[in-house]
Amino acid sequence: MSSVGESSRRKEGPEKLTGVAKYVDDYHLPNCLQGVTLRSSIARGVIKEIRFDPSYDWDSVVVATAKDIPGENYVYLIEVDQPLLVDREVHHAEEPILVLGHKDRAKAYEALSHIEVEYEPWDPVLTMEEALVGKRILYGDDNVFKRFEISKGDVEQGFKDADVIVSKEYRVPHQEQAYLENNGMAAWEEDDGTLVLMGSIQCPFYVHKAMLPLFAREPEKVRVIQATTGGGFGGKEEYPNMIAGHAALLALKAKRPVKMIYDRHEDMRATTKRHPARVRHRTGVTKDGALVAQDIDVLMDGGAYVTLSPVVLSRGILHASGPYECPNVRIVGRVIATNTPPNGAFRGFGAPQTLFAAELQMEAIASRLKMDPVSLRQTNLFRIGSITATGQTLRESVGAENVLDRVLSRSKFRQKKSQHARWNGSKTKPTWRGIGLATVFHGDGFTGSGEVFLRSRAGIELVHDGTLRIDAASTEIGQGTTSILAQIVADALDVPYDWIDVETPDTSKVPNSGPTVASRTCMVVGGLLHKAAKKLKKALVQAGANWPLTREALATSAARACGKKRSIDFVEQYRKPGDVTWDEETYRGDAYGVYSYAAMVVDLEIDKTTYEVTVRDVITAQDVGKAINPLLVEGQIIGGTAQALGYALLENTVVDDRGVMQNAQLTNYIIPTALDMPTMDVTIVEEPYSKGPFGAKGVGELPMDIPAPAVAAAIYDATGLFMAELPILPERLCQALHDSAQS
C-alpha cells in the first residue's frame, strides 16, 4: 500500500478547482469593516502634523494611530526596530502611518484622500553605495545591519599559487514575489476576549508571536488561523505580521471584525521583495582549471529595517562559492540600511543572488582559460568527501555530478553547442543561438543551529473512532504540504492516503512546527511525522491491529488504544542529529545538514532586430533525495524555473526617486505567461539522505537558484556578451552590443 513515490492527488484540489476553497477575502464576516492604510509619501523625515479634513464626515470611519497601540509599537522579528505605525520618524516611503476602516472599501479609500500629513523632510539614503559613504547614518555607526565572514585556508597564498586570476562584478535587482493572491488578513475579538487573526500566511506562529507585545496579551488570548493561501514564495513569511497588527488594532478599536485586503499596487509598492545585491568575485585557478582561491564580497540592500536581512545574507554567503571545492576561500557579506521599503524573504533567500554570480564566474574563468565550461565544473564539483567553505565534510547524498551528467546527455550539450556555432557563423540568419549550463546546490532547512533553536513539534492524533489527523503548523501555499505530509504518514502506517486527515494550521489546534520556509517542510516536519507515525503504529499493534488493516479494525484498535480518552496525540520534537556541529561565531562547521543539487541547460535564441530572447529548451535534473510525490516535485521545479526565468529576462523593478517601485502593476512588471515558457525536460534524481523521511531532502527553493546563470551563459555563448547584471532586457542587450562594437 505504498503512497510515497506516487503522484497522489492534491488533497485540497477538488475545493480549489470548484471555487469552493475559501481565501481570506472569500469569508463573509458580519458587521465587518474594510481596513486601509495611510502611507508616507516621503522616504525620510519627521511627521509634524496629521490633518483630518474638517468638512468630511468622519462619523462612519474608525481611525487608529500609533497612540492606540496598547503594548509596544514594534513588529517582532529578529530585531524590534520596525514600528507597526510611524509615531514620529519616517524611514522609508510607503511606511504605514495610520489605518482606518469603513464598511465600504471604496469609502475607506475615499476617506484616506481627506487626510493630509505635513512632514519635515530629511535627505534620504537610497542606494547601498551612498549608505556606505556614511555621510548620513541610518543604523549603528556605519549603516551595516550585519556583517559575516567565512574563511578557509589561506587566500593570499592561494592567489600566489594561481596561474590565472579572474575578477568580475555582478549585480542583481529587486524581484517581486507576485503571488497571484495579494496579501490579506482578517481580525476580530471573540466574546471570551481572544483576538483572532485569519489570513493569507505562511507562518501562523510568527503572526502569533508578533501580536503578543503589540497588544500586551497572553499567548492563549491570541489565535491565528491560515485561510487558503494563494501563493507565498516568502512574500507571506514576515510581512503578514505587519498586516495582522494593523487589522487587529482597528478591530479592537472598532469592536468589529476588520478585513485588510491589499490591492495589487499597494502590495507591490509597500511589501517586501528580494534583496538587490552586488557580488564581486576574484578567483585564482591553475591553468588546468583547479580552483585555488576564491575571494568574494557580497553586498545586499536591506532597506529601512532589519527584518530578515541577517539570515538572508547568511544563506547568501553560504552559497556564494558555488557547489565547488576550493582550498582557500574568503567570503565577506554585508547587508546595508537604506531609506527604501524593507526587503525580505523570497524563495531562495539570498542564494539566487550569490549563485548567479558564482556560476557566471565559472563561465568567465572557462573563457579566460579557453577551457570547456563543463570540464571546469567537473574538475571542481562537490563529491562525497569534499570540504565546503565552512569546513563541512560532505558525507552523503551528494548528487552534483549525477545531475550534471544527466543534463549533458539529455540536452546533447556539446553537439548543440557546435550546431549553434555553425548557425551563428552565418551572417544571413535572423537570430543568434546559444546554449548555457549551470550547476547549483541549496542547503535544506534552517541555517546552522536554526533548526535546533526552532525545536519544532508536529504530531498525529489518533481519535477513538479511527480518524487519523495530522497536526502541524506547516502551511499549504500551493506547494503540496498537505498531500506530501499525508503520504509520508500513510506510508509509515501502511494505510491508504485517503485515510489521513490534515488539520488546518490554527495556533489553537496545532503545535508549533516552525515556519513554512527554507525548503524544510518535507525534510524536517515530514521527518517528525514519520517518527510519530511509527510510534502510532506500535500503539495500534499493541491494541491488536493486524495488517492489511481494514477501517473497521482500525476503529476497533483505536477505541482500545484510546480507552476512556477521546483521542491520543503522538507528537515528536526536533532533536539535533548527533554528528552535526556548527559554530555561529566563527561560521565554521555544518552549515546545513544536507544539500540538494541541480544542473540545468538552457537553449535560447536572440532576435537580431529586436534583441528579444526566446527560451527554446530547458533541460534540468534535480537531486531531491526522494520525491515523495513526483508530480508535486515537478510542479515545484517547473514553477520555480519559470519564476527564475522571469528574474533573468523579464522582471524589471523600476524604482522612483523615493526608492519605491514605480511599475507596481502586473501590466508593466512583466512575469512570464504560458507563451514565454518552453516545455521543460525535468529529471528527478534521488540520492537519499539518511535523516530525511524516506530519504527526502528539500526542493522548494532549489529551482529558483539555477536558471538565471544558465540563461546568462547561453547569451554569452550566442553573442559573446557577458551580461553580469539582471534582468537581461532587450534594451540592455542592444546597449551592450553597441558598446562592444565601439570598443
Binding site: 492527488r9 506547494q479 517547473i638 519559470a642
Partner: protein, 163 residues
C-alpha cells in the same frame, strides 16, 4: 434593476450601475469562486463568460451585462462530482495555490468548447491571458491536453456506437 442569468439562475441586482461585475458576483451573489488578482484586466483570475464570451469581470461594469447570461467556475462541477476538465487539472497537477485556477479553468473551458485540439502552441496561446506564478504552466497545458484527448476519444466512441 439589473437582470442577469448567472449559472442558469435568474438574479437581479439593485445598486451602483458601475459596480464591477466581479464585485457583484462575489459580494451580492456570494459566488466567491471568481478571484481578483490585479484589478486591471492583466492576470485573468476573474475570467467569466458573458453571453458565452470570455471576459475579465474586473473590467465590466455590471450594467453592461444587463440581460446577459453569465457563467462562472461554479457552473462546472462540485468537489464530489468534478467536470472532466477539473478532473484533468487534478490528475495532471494543473492547480497549485489555486487562486488563478478558476480563471484558468474558464479560459481552458472556452478553448475546449470551441473545438481546440491537443496542439501545445494553440493551448499556450489560449491561456496566455491568465497569469500563474506557481506552475510554470506546463501542468496546466497537460491538463488541457488530457481533457481534449479524452473528449476526442469519447466522441469517437459515440460515433462508433452510432454506426
Amino acid at each position: 434593476m439589473i437582470q442577469l442569468k448567472v449559472n442558469g439562475k435568474q438574479r437581479s441586482f439593485r445598486g451602483r450601475r458601475f459596480k464591477r461585475l466581479i464585485d457583484v458576483l462575489r459580494e451580492d451573489f456570494d459566488l466567491t469562486g471568481t478571484k481578483e488578482g490585479c484589478g486591471e484586466g492583466e492576470c485573468g483570475a476573474c475570467s467569466v463568460f458573458v453571453d458565452g464570451e470570455l471576459v475579465n469581470s474586473c473590467l465590466i461594469p455590471v450594467y453592461q451585462a444587463d440581460g446577459a447570461r453569465v457563467e462562472t467556475v461554479e457552473a462546472l462541477g462540485d468537489p464530489d462530482a468534478l467536470d472532466p476538465l477539473q478532473a484533468s487539472f487534478l490528475t495532471e497537477g494543473g492547480a497549485q495555490c489555486g487562486i488563478c485556477t478558476p480563471g484558468m479553468l474558464m479560459s481552458a473551458w472556452a478553448f475546449v468548447r470551441d473545438g481546440g485540439r491537443d496542439d501545445l502552441d494553440a493551448i499556450r496561446t489560449a491561456l496566455a491571458g491568465n497569469l500563474c506564478r506557481c506552475t510554470g504552466y506546463q501542468h496546466i497545458v497537460s491538463s488541457v491536453v488530457a481533457t481534449v484527448r479524452d473528449k476526442t476519444r469519447t466522441s469517437a466512441r459515440r460515433r462508433t456506437k452510432k454506426k
